[in-house]
């Protein structure tokens, strides 16, 4: 059950997206996420949806995998869209007791749903086509200017690398501990909220103890491999921008322009 989480799962491949410089991918994703939330009419929303579908198609990652990452947020999507449905402004077109639905509310619900889905799909696209090390490496390079104000950029990026590496290991361990406690008769599903939280203690305590022991050992292992902070360290993968990255930037720029033109030419619907 815990293993369903697709966080940070990398799909090795050779697609256009796999070969983009991870730095471009991060910048493009951020720009794209902003633009998703600047869609105020159906034409621009359609534009963004088509572009997201296109990106997914060229990523070469099976669509099933994307569905899995959507599955985790589906409840959030449903709840927010329902809330939006009832919080529209203007003339109610349907009313019952204190609940009323307006045309604006329906539009909002549709926009929120599609925007969140596009957001999740676009972000998954980044983690599916970029290895965690490339990702943290790119972040380290992008944030390098922060070194000037004594922000520990390398350390933070190393911490992220390790976190991404150990998430699956710790999830597996949680699973194991849960099963061990169940085998001893621990009941984790019954009772009210309070007893259920209390039932989590025998899982959390061993998990924390082992996580700290693990952290200590990982540090030892890193020292054995001559790790000595960021200075003097080289990287196996040299990342550099190519024509391919220019194509990516142009693609996203076109979408941004398209959305802005739509916004200028057409009426806001939300």
């Amino acid at each position: 059950m815990v293993r369903d989480i697709t966080l940070g799962q990398y799909y090795p491949g050779k697609s256009f997206l796999h070969r983009l410089d991870p730095r471009s991918k991060i910048i493009l994703l951020i720009a794209y996420l902003v633009i998703i939330f600047c869609t105020f009419n159906y034409l621009s929303l359609l534009l963004v949806t088509i572009f997201t579908a296109l990106v997914i198609a060229i990523s070469g990652v099976p669509f099933k995998t994307y569905l899995k990452s959507l599955k985790i947020v589906i409840t959030i999507v449903i709840i927010t869209s329902i809330l939006n449905l009832f919080y529209g402004t203007g003339e109610p077109i349907w009313q019952w007791w204190i609940i009323s639905v307006t045309a604006n509310g329906i539009n909002r619900a549709i926009f929120v749903t599609i925007r969140i889905i596009c957001l999740i799909l676009a972000s998954s696209c980044l983690t599916f086509t970029t290895s965690p090390t490339d990702l943290t490496d790119a972040l380290e390079r992008l944030l390098k200017p922060l070194n000037k104000i004594h922000f520990p950029v390398h350390e933070v990026s190393m911490m992220m690398t390790l976190a991404l590496r150990f998430v699956p290991t710790l999830l597996e361990e949680t699973d194991k501990i849960m099963q061990a406690q169940k085998a001893r008769g621990a009941d984790m599903e019954a009772g009210n909220l309070f007893t259920r939280i209390k039932a989590m203690i025998p899982i959390l305590v061993p998990l924390f103890v082992s996580a700290f022991r693990r952290a200590y050992e990982v540090a030892t292992a890193m020292e054995c491999r001559c790790y000595n902070g960021g200075s003097g360290r080289t990287r196996m993968k040299v990342i550099h921008m190519t024509k391919r990255d220019a194509v990516g930037f142009i693609g996203v720029a076109l979408i941004i322009i398209g959305v802005f033109i739509c916004n200028i030419m057409m009426k806001k619907v939300i």
């Binding site: 290991t169 890193m222 020292e223 491999r225 360290r233 196996m236």
Partner: protein, 281 residues
């Protein structure tokens, strides 16, 4: 010429409770490991093997006594980097040794720390992965591999740093027989073909038999050392310290006790069978 030399070293972990007498985890050990040698460090749990191993690459410094690696004193802080480059230590749990989410990136971690230029790292990573027969898995996630495979990746990660000596802390613990064979044959190959000094820490007697020399530890001290047949012929001494001997050796030892005449002790099952056949003829 000795590559690693420990001279009468003592070490105790400070956390030991007050009141009790201080127990040394390593209690006056002197040993020497020559270049190109395959040494097995043997002993049961808690006898100080891991503590000893951590002295070989300066993870720990002795309270008393000195450790020299290739002529350099480990107490000399300016040499830390050199020593860790020469002596690679593979820790017991491979899960905690692998730091990156992709196999080849993990193997690259050591050379990256050493500041090796990128093209050279690529070469080293590829050849290290080929040496442990894990090249096809280079794009995999470590947590999806089997125990034996993880161990071999951990070894490749050390190998990519091109050390002169690799110290392995119980590399076969928690592995099934085929995983053990994979790891052991990798080690033998590295020792014979790449001429890398190997220190194999283990509590399995049948693995120690593979070594050129066996050092047996007990309660922080060296109990005995020598060629595998010399060590395992001291069946009584080993038994007294609750250490097993290989089954083949024990069988012949017992038969000797019953009055059957054998001129030497066997170490492997095959040897044992041959000797029995000769006697039964």
């Amino acid at each position: 010429m000795e590559f690693i030399s420990a001279q009468d070293i003592y070490f105790s972990y400070e956390e030991i409770e007050v009141g009790k007498k201080v127990i040394n985890a390593v209690d006056g050990v002197s040993l020497e490991i020559k270049k190109g040698e395959f040494v097995a460090l043997l002993g049961h749990n808690g006898c100080g093997k891991s503590t000893m191993a951590k002295h070989f690459n300066e993870m720990l410094l002795p309270d008393k006594g000195k450790v020299f690696v290739d002529g350099d004193d480990t107490a000399d802080e300016s040499k830390t980097f050199d020593i860790r480059k020469k002596v690679g230590l593979v820790l017991q749990n491979p899960d905690n040794q692998l730091v990156a989410s992709i196999v080849e990136e993990d193997v690259a971690f050591g050379p990256e720390n050493l500041g090796v230029p990128p093209e050279k790292i690529r070469e080293r990573v590829d050849s290290a992965l080929k040496a442990v027969d894990m090249y096809e898995y280079r794009k995999n996630a470590p947590f999806k591999l089997s125990g034996g495979q993880k161990k071999r990746i951990a070894i490749a990660g050390i190998l990519a740093m091109q050390p002169e000596c690799i110290v392995l802390d119980e590399p076969t613990a928690m592995l099934d027989p085929s995983g053990r064979d994979e790891v052991l044959s990798t080690l033998i190959k590295l020792n014979r073909e790449n001429n890398i000094t190997i220190v194999l820490i283990t509590h399995y007697m049948d693995e120690a038999v593979l070594a050129d020399r066996v050092i047996v530890m007990d309660a922080g001290k060296i109990l005995t050392e020598g060629k595998p047949d010399e060590v395992f012929s001291q069946v009584e001494l080993l038994k007294k310290h609750r250490l097993d001997v290989p089954q083949a050796t024990e069988l012949i030892y017992k038969l000797r006790g019953c009055g059957v005449n054998f001129d030497k002790v066997p170490l492997t099952d095959e040897e044992c069978i041959k000797m029995l056949e000769e006697v039964l003829k």
